[in-house]
Symmetry: C2
Subunit: 200 residues, 2 copies
């Protein structure tokens, strides 16, 4: 016996392609699946199939949606002239929790990452540029992450969007609330100085 049965090897290979899951973790997960009750394994399989078939990107903003248009875009109370650009649908959840935002979103479904060979061309911004061209948008807030990829992506978006007549913002970057200055990393602290704003 030099290897596991084929079906098991196949599954381990597929699981090892999951983000953050290596060969060892994939083996552990595969064994876990083998030990599941048959009913639970079947439900997991159905769930994977279903999630892929029923959830599609919103036709307007790329947010996850079971309808053609997502709940945010379909909500008549949201201001369609203000658009917040995020990397992933989960960023929308985080922003919605703040209850500070009344506009709509646009999801890039990724970020520019030279290390992973992901260039600007792989961001899906066509639908957004179309709406900017038609003058449907008055304000854009770029809310990509504050890491290298997010900053590169923000830079690229600023170049693209500043061609249009629109108020363009980057989300505030600086010291998080509740943190003492002595404990903040120097990159954030330096940035917080660059982003200082007048108070008088």
């Amino acid at each position: 016996m030099n290897s596991f049965p084929n079906e098991l090897e196949d599954l381990i290979e597929r699981l090892a392609r999951f983000p953050g899951v290596g060969r060892r973790s994939a083996e552990r997960i595969a064994f876990y699946i083998l030990k599941m009750k048959e009913k639970d394994a079947t439900e997991l399989a159905k769930n994977i199939d279903a999630v892929h078939k029923t959830i599609k990107p919103c036709r307007i903003c790329n947010n996850f949606s079971t309808q053609e248009i997502c709940p945010v875009c379909a909500n008549p109370k949201r201001d369609k002239e203000i658009v917040c650009i995020v990397e992933e649908p989960k960023d929308i959840l985080a922003i919605e929790k703040t209850s500070q935002y009344e506009g709509v979103y646009y999801v890039l479904l990724g970020s520019i990452s030279p290390l992973e060979g992901i260039g600007p061309e792989s961001l899906s911004i066509g639908k957004l540029l179309n709406r900017l061209r038609k003058g449907e948008i008055k304000e854009v807030i770029i809310s990509t992450d504050a890491d290298n990829e997010g900053e590169l992506t923000a830079q690229f978006l600023i170049e693209q969007i500043s061609r249009y007549k629109v108020k363009l913002y980057r989300i505030g970057i600086g010291i998080p609330l509740g943190i003492q200055i002595e404990y903040i990393d120097s990159a954030t602290l330096g940035r917080a100085f660059l982003e200082r704003r007048p108070v008088t």
Copy 2:
């Protein structure tokens, strides 16, 4: 929008139950599944279903098998009177790679872990004790892991098996090959002294 669509939330919850996968990783894996080609997602789902239906524990030793009896137990060249007890089927693969072992295996499908509330009663050793009782086995090598759980399990197995007329061994524990003494952890080094063996 206060949450993801239900199908997606369900999938994230299921994935978060995988070993070593928390809520955050489960989200990342779920998004990865959503971004997969539909064909690949369907194949993954089928694979999970298939692996669970086609692979069952070997009727003799609990090893993974697509047949009623696993390739090792079915091999007429293997010595059925020598049984190596391991925790998991993957341990069999590791031992087979050494080409040092001609006997058969017995898989416990787990180990005793008081911290996780797993006691001796959850180890499936009934089939093994039956064969010992019938006198079918001459030699047993306990090859559970050298960690706390494996050592506890070995202790329990020694108590159970020493009642029968059989040569009983624990796999050698000590300094791994290729390692310099100064770099070995002190628990292993201490154990290596306890397990010292005469050479003259």
